[in-house]
């Protein structure tokens, strides 16, 4: 039993990062039907920016977070302007292909400049430390990340449900033409959505670096897939659903690995895909209410 609890607690840390990524992912997925494969790179660039600030330039902790956010914002918006805006309206598949292209470009560029080795991420002192509960180990950093994510989650859900911006976003995801005739500035709303998503990506990247103590050029590949699947499970466009699903996937994967024989541990990525296929076959609209028809 305590082994089980340990797995769940272990998963809370990186589950939080996935939940944040899923929230950002589902926002752009819901609002303009964009499956943003390049979001993993926004995440990675945020982490790298924080890495540079903290480890290379030895700046204080808050500067690291700021750097992560700014880095992610810059790359996220750049990708939107270059790879998405020109093909908006051309259908989900085209948008996906350009996002694939953008992802490959940014990822390989980073690897080209900084190679694909693990970069040591300087973790601030107050992050380290553990609590012991019986024979269960709780990492302080997991708790901090979890709390930060919950707070951000609450803010996001409030934003989407209660603010004019949230209404505009939901309106556009349902029917952008009608929303525009009700006075919604769709262009600006879309950009703001990308800003929020990039922000989330940057925070997620920075937190990941702090959680695992390292970053690398190809780190975005697996989390972006988890985030995508979480959005689908959660109901496209549903921020709450995406975040909860992110946790479900992380905890599920954690338990899955725990009960796998040692040599099959590498099969970890399979779990999320099995869940993906099951949900799509039995409940394609997702576990929670989807935002778009």
């Amino acid at each position: 039993m305590s082994y089980f609890i340990q797995q769940v607690l272990n998963a809370l840390g990186w589950g939080s990062v996935i939940a944040l990524l899923a929230a950002g992912y589902t926002m752009t997925f819901g609002i303009i039907g964009l499956v943003n494969f390049a979001y993993g790179e926004v995440f990675m660039v945020g982490a790298f920016a924080a890495y540079f600030a903290l480890t290379v330039f030895n700046l204080p902790f808050w500067a690291g977070i700021l750097a992560g956010i700014i880095g992610a914002l810059v790359i996220g918006l750049a990708i939107e302007r270059i790879a998405f805006k020109p093909v908006r309206g051309s259908g989900m598949i085209t948008l996906f292909i350009t996002s694939l292209g953008a992802s490959i470009i940014v990822k390989n560029l980073t690897i080209m400049l900084f190679d694909d080795s693990l970069k040591n991420f300087k973790v601030p002192k107050f992050f380290s430390g553990v609590y012991l509960l019986g024979d269960i180990i709780i990492f302080k950093k997991s708790i901090i990340i979890f709390l930060v994510t919950i707070i951000l989650g609450i803010m996001l859900v409030y934003l989407v449900k209660n603010t004019k911006l949230g209404i505009a976003m939901r309106g556009i995801s349902y029917d952008s033409k009608i929303s525009e005739t009700l006075g919604v500035n769709t262009e600006r709303t879309i950009i703001i959505t990308f800003v929020i998503a990039s922000l989330l990506g940057g925070i997620a990247g920075t937190l990941w670096g702090m959680l695992f103590g390292s970053v690398k050029g190809s780190m975005g590949a697996i989390p972006v897939v988890d985030a995508f699947i979480a959005s689908v499970i959660g109901g496209v466009g549903n921020v709450f659903g995406a975040m909860v699903s992110g946790y479900i996937l992380a905890i599920g994967t954690g338990i899955f690995i725990a009960y796998l024989p040692q040599e099959l541990v590498g099969l970890k990525p399979l779990f999320v895909w099995v869940v993906f296929f099951i949900i799509l076959i039995f409940k394609p609209s997702g576990l929670f209410r989807a935002n778009i028809k």
């Binding site: 085209t94 292909i97 390989n108 690897i111 590498g266 399979l270």
Partner: protein
């Protein structure tokens, strides 16, 4: 009767011309140019096969990597000399595989048949997924197969991969297959089957109402595509002489996608042109990637430059000319056919 004789004569003439060309090319091309030409041919095979699914029946698949892995591994099991299979690598394969080594053609066919089976297994559940979710599902398929290949060392030798593949790939195999494939698909495109494929791609509901059995044709399409994709993959591994689980990863599949997007999804000549462009592009950039000496100034390595520029090329094409160079048309070969039958 006279007309039939003329057509038969034309066929024999064309085949003879191809034979002659291949023979001459084999004598003339060496080293870099030979490899380039072989790469081009393999890319043509892969591009045309992918086009059948992505271009004609309109299902955007990026899962051919999984099919390629299956076909390649099966063929590799059969072509690697028994001494290596038994001694050097500790594989738990059925004894008859460890003890045999087949010549190329049977291995090619058997591998491809396994590829087809995989392709059909992929299509059956995925059929229910519409549009984009199908695409995501194929991505998952890729990842699942690569993960399995990497984590079942008793079967695939895991991340260490397989080596000592015999060097079977040559102009005859590659370009024989490429020409054959191009010919078949051109014929199919004009036939009922081809038009059924294309109508499924354009408007599946309408196609169904016109009496086309969607499932049957989708299976045909996937079968055909998977068969030749596997052939392409098997030819590839017998050129580079090794096989790793990452051999047909997203970057590899992505370059094939780029070929058909540039050439025009739905056009066979487009796929050939796209394959040519991408192959040339990659080979021109390869030395730059290695880093080189430019008038005494050492330009550093730029690994991944090819992939990056390929990505840029893809985005540019999608923005400026999304239907590709050829759109859905083919290069007209009417001049070869001579007089039209009235």
């Amino acid at each position: 009767m006279k007309l039939e004789k003329k057509i038969v004569e034309k066929y024999i003439l064309t085949i003879g011309l191809f034979f002659l060309t291949f023979y001459l090319l084999e004598k003339l091309l060496t080293g870099f140019w030979l490899t380039l030409f072989l790469l081009f041919g393999i890319n043509v095979i892969l591009a045309i096969s992918l086009n059948i699914i992505n271009g004609w029946i309109g299902f955007f698949s990026i899962g051919h990597g999984g099919i390629m892995l299956v076909g390649a591994y099966v063929a590799a099991f059969l072509t690697i000399p028994t001494s290596f299979k038994q001694g050097v690598i500790n594989l738990h394969l059925p004894a008859f595989i460890l003890n045999t080594q087949l010549p190329f053609l049977p291995a090619l066919l058997i591998g491809s048949i396994f590829g087809v089976i995989t392709g059909i297994i992929l299509v059956l559940p995925a059929i229910r997924l519409k549009g984009f979710y199908f695409c995501a599902g194929t991505l998952g398929f890729n990842i699942i197969m690569a993960t399995l290949a990497e984590n079942l060392p008793k079967i695939t030798n895991g991340p260490m991969g397989l080596r000592h593949l015999p060097s079977y790939t040559n102009i005859w195999w590659v370009w024989g297959m490429a020409v054959f494939l191009a010919y078949i698909t051109l014929m199919v495109k004009k036939s009922y089957i081809g038009r059924a494929f294309i109508s499924i791609g354009k408007d599946p509901c309408l196609a169904e109402h016109m009496g086309i059995n969607l499932l049957k044709y989708k299976i045909y399409a996937f079968g055909l595509s998977a068969f030749f994709t596997s052939i392409g993959a098997i030819l590839w591994i017998h050129l580079i002489l090794n096989l790793f689980p990452t051999a047909f990863d997203l970057t590899f599949v992505f370059s094939v996608v780029t070929m058909i997007v540039i050439g025009g999804m739905g056009s066979i000549s487009g796929s050939i042109i796209g394959a040519a462009i991408v192959t040339l592009f990659a080979e021109i950039l390869a030395p730059i990637e290695e880093g080189f000496n430019f008038f005494g100034f050492q330009v550093p390595q730029a690994l991944g430059l090819t992939t990056i520029l390929l990505g840029v090329l893809l985005i540019v094409v999608l923005i400026k000319k999304p239907e590709g160079i050829m759109g859905e048309r083919e290069i007209s070969l009417n001049f070869l056919k001579g007089k039209k039958i009235s």
